[in-house]
């Protein structure tokens, strides 16, 4: 399948990609049977899906490419969301008069800084230790959100600013009734970020990440400054997480500490692992599934998460490498299996 896809001439592939993009832009306007969610506003769900995809793209840099298991990714998401809310909402004591377009870079910058602050000491750890420390970070951010007087815990921050702009009749473009502009905005951001990450992946930086992921010591010996690249991966991932948090807060209009729990953080990781770690198409699919399925199965009420959970288990049984495994990863794993087999025969 994949080699066939590669055999198609490049301009056709680009055209096909464009057609797919156009399809996604038009999705909320198309009345395709069975796809829209029965209970929740469809474009609102699509927006959430787009935000989760962005989260997946960011987390893919950290987990999929650099191989750093980050369980506290929700922390960066929260930093981004709270940045927009705290500096933008008139209800906040720290409100600035900056327009929304200024708030977004601030949100990204703050989450990147928090990524570096967290990454500085912790990236010297590996494997399980890193996972535990990042898990703690996510909780720290949540507890700050709960207890700090400015973030107002459960009471939350209302009237988070939305992007600017008005229709001809004076209604805001990014109103709260029609979520489609929000969806289109998020989709555009997703496409841009995907393009950027794709470029990074095939650059020297990307190859260094892969080298670190596969064997950090070997990479270091070969002259890759692994700490520096790991920190970069962490910061870039954090920035993308912050951006998605900022979009989420703008659309929601109201955020409180409830939105940033550990469960959501686990869901983020589930998206990456489920879809296929290290592969953009894979994590996209994973993010779509974890955000779309629970809304689609809303009708099951109490059993909603059971259905969702079973769907996940079935997928993991039949596709242990994720739905769309990374090709490079698959080759590496096959190779490793091969080596293990050889070793086994050698030992006999």
């Amino acid at each position: 399948m994949r080699s066939r896809w590669r055999a198609i001439p490049r301009p056709v592939r680009i055209l096909f990609g464009l057609a797919v993009a156009v399809f996604f832009y038009l999705l909320p306007n198309l009345a395709i049977p069975l796809i829209p969610t029965p209970d929740t506003n469809f474009s609102s769900v699509l927006f959430t899906v787009a935000v989760y995809v962005l989260v997946g793209v960011g987390l893919n840099v950290v987990i999929g490419l650099a191989g750093l298991l980050d369980l506290g990714y929700i922390g960066f998401f929260a930093v981004g969301a709270y940045s927009v809310a705290i500096f933008g909402s008139p209800a906040s004591p720290l409100a600035t008069k900056y327009p929304w377009l200024m708030l977004i870079p601030i949100a990204i910058a703050l989450s990147m800084v928090s990524g570096v602050i967290l990454g500085g000491p912790t990236l010297r750890l590996r494997g399980d230790y890193l996972a535990i420390v990042t898990l703690g970070f996510g909780e720290i951010v949540r507890l700050i959100a709960v207890n700090w007087s400015i973030t107002k815990g459960q009471i939350g921050i209302p009237s988070v600013p939305a992007p600017p702009g008005h229709w001809g009749n004076g209604d805001p473009v990014f109103g709260i009734i029609d979520t489609r502009p929000f969806y289109w905005l998020a989709l555009t951001v997703v496409l841009i970020c995907m393009f950027g990450v794709k470029l990074l992946e095939s650059s020297r930086v990307g190859r260094s990440w892969l080298a670190i992921r596969e064997d950090e010591d070997a990479a270091e010996l070969m002259g890759v400054p692994s700490f520096k690249f790991k920190l970069w991966a962490f910061a870039i991932g954090a920035g993308l997480g912050g951006l998605s948090g900022a979009l989420f807060a703008s659309r929601q209009g109201f955020i409180n500490s409830n939105s940033f729990d550990v469960l959501t953080s686990m869901l983020f990781v589930a998206a990456v692992v489920l879809g296929g770690s290290g592969n953009l198409a894979g994590v996209t699919l994973g993010a779509v599934l974890i955000s779309y399925l629970p809304e689609r199965f809303r009708g099951f009420a109490d059993k909603r998460f059971l259905v969702f959970g079973i769907a996940l288990i079935v997928i993991m049984i039949f596709r242990p490498q994720g739905l769309i495994p990374s090709r490079r990863r698959a080759v590496e794993l096959a190779d490793r299996k091969h080596e293990a087999a050889e070793e086994a025969t050698a030992n006999v």
């Binding site: 198609i8 001439p9 609102s44 009734i177």
Partner: protein, 385 residues
């Protein structure tokens, strides 16, 4: 790959974009079609699943009873009850609210049930001009946001807080009170009012978190404060285990809490022995105090006595149903109808002021006591503000 096959590939994206372009013209089916007279809907919005679902289910039942009674009387012109299960979750509320707003047949919403989700959803209802009556969200700030569609069937925390304080002072006769809240819009709001009303009698305060299950830190603080009464602002999911652990640590102080705790889930969480004697206040009336045949009707329909807010939800739904019976099938007409409503319900005389609050003279606060594993009515507390 030969040239012909390559050409064939070119066709795919072109065809695809053509299909997409054509279907782009497909209309969204949520347009403001002229709502017919007999297909109006009213909606319930609140938790029917999730940790505090019991409160939402009581309200849903109240609304359902009202709609069923209406439909039995108007067989040729029935009203549909739409239900949105928000799980009491602020994250899910906006999407659900949008869906309701876009269905022009929905002319009234009973809910949202909790204050937090109201914060997230009511602005959307306001933009959509969809009138709502909450039968349970009691945070005072909700009526002060300039939302034209907001109405509330009961007294807010500014009425309940002082009443709870009065009860602690006059009936419990406590000298030292320990105030705990759960940091939610609802629990903290209420605890703050109680603190203000009690003044210097509050010896110490603490907060707990929603979904928390271990309250040993709080229990230790209560113990060392030697308080003779505890006020807890929050929901039953946390209040149950909290009381259990307090009693387990041999804290004898009277436990007074709020309407969010007035549910059998509280007794289940605390265990019969620990819950015994706990007091809750509520701006809701006991089911058997409701006028008319409500109590009997409810019991017949659902096989149990009406729970907290059941009567208030019944009244709220009936306001909308009266409007539909009077031919108000557009949201604008319905909003004007609700604003001008002036009639007796089963809980009180219903009349809203300009901010959507129930008229001050109609506010009632009751206290309830846990006795023999059940929450039974205690007394009506005269509202002091």
């Amino acid at each position: 790959m030969n040239v012909r096959v390559r050409r064939a590939w070119l066709v795919v994206p072109v065809a695809l974009s053509a299909v997409v372009a054509m279907s782009a013209c497909a209309e969204q089916n949520n347009g403001a079609s002229a709502a017919g007279k007999c297909d109006s809907k009213i909606a319930f919005f609140g938790a029917r699943t999730g940790p505090n679902a019991n409160l939402g289910i009581n309200i849903y039942n109240g609304v359902k009873l009202a709609v069923d009674q209406y439909n039995a009387k108007h067989k040729d012109c029935k009203v549909t009850l739409e239900s949105k299960d928000s799980q009491g979750d602020e994250k899910q509320a906006p999407g659900l609210a949008q869906q309701l707003v876009q269905d022009q047949k929905v002319v009234g919403v009973v809910g949202p049930a909790f204050s937090g989700e109201s914060e997230a959803a009511d602005g959307i209802f306001d933009q959509g001009g969809l009138p709502l009556i909450s039968a349970s969200a009691t945070n005072p700030s909700l009526s002060q946001k300039g939302w034209k569609v907001f109405h509330r069937m009961l007294g807010n925390d500014n009425a309940q807080g002082p009443a709870a304080a009065t009860y602690i002072k006059d009936t419990v006769k406590a000298k030292k009170v320990f105030v705990i809240d759960d940091t939610t819009a609802y629990g903290k709001g209420l605890a703050d009012v109680v603190k203000k009303s009690l003044g210097s009698q509050v010896v110490s305060t603490d907060t707990v978190q929603p979904k928390q299950t271990d309250f040993q830190a709080t229990v230790a603080k209560v113990k060392s404060s030697k308080a003779d009464a505890i006020f807890y602002g929050g929901y039953y999911a946390e209040a149950g285990p909290l009381v259990k652990q307090l009693r387990g640590a041999n804290v004898k102080a009277a436990f007074v809490s709020d309407d969010g705790v007035k549910d059998e889930g509280f007794i289940k969480g605390a265990g019969n022995a620990a819950a015994e004697g706990s007091v809750v206040t509520c701006p809701c009336i006991p089911g058997d105090e409701a006028k008319g045949t409500f109590f009997a009707d409810y019991k017949k329909a659902f096989g149990k006595e009406p729970g907290t807010y059941g009567p208030e939800a019944f009244d709220s739904a009936n306001v909308f149903l009266d409007g539909i019976a009077a031919g108000k099938t557009s949201r604008k007409d319905m909003l004007a109808f609700v604003n001008a409503y002036d009639k007796d319900g089963v809980t009180k005389h219903i009349k809203f002021d300009s901010t959507g609050e129930i008229a001050k003279s109609e506010i009632v606060i009751w206290s309830y006591k846990v006795s023999g594993g059940e929450i039974v009515k205690d007394q009506e507390i005269k509202a002091t503000s």
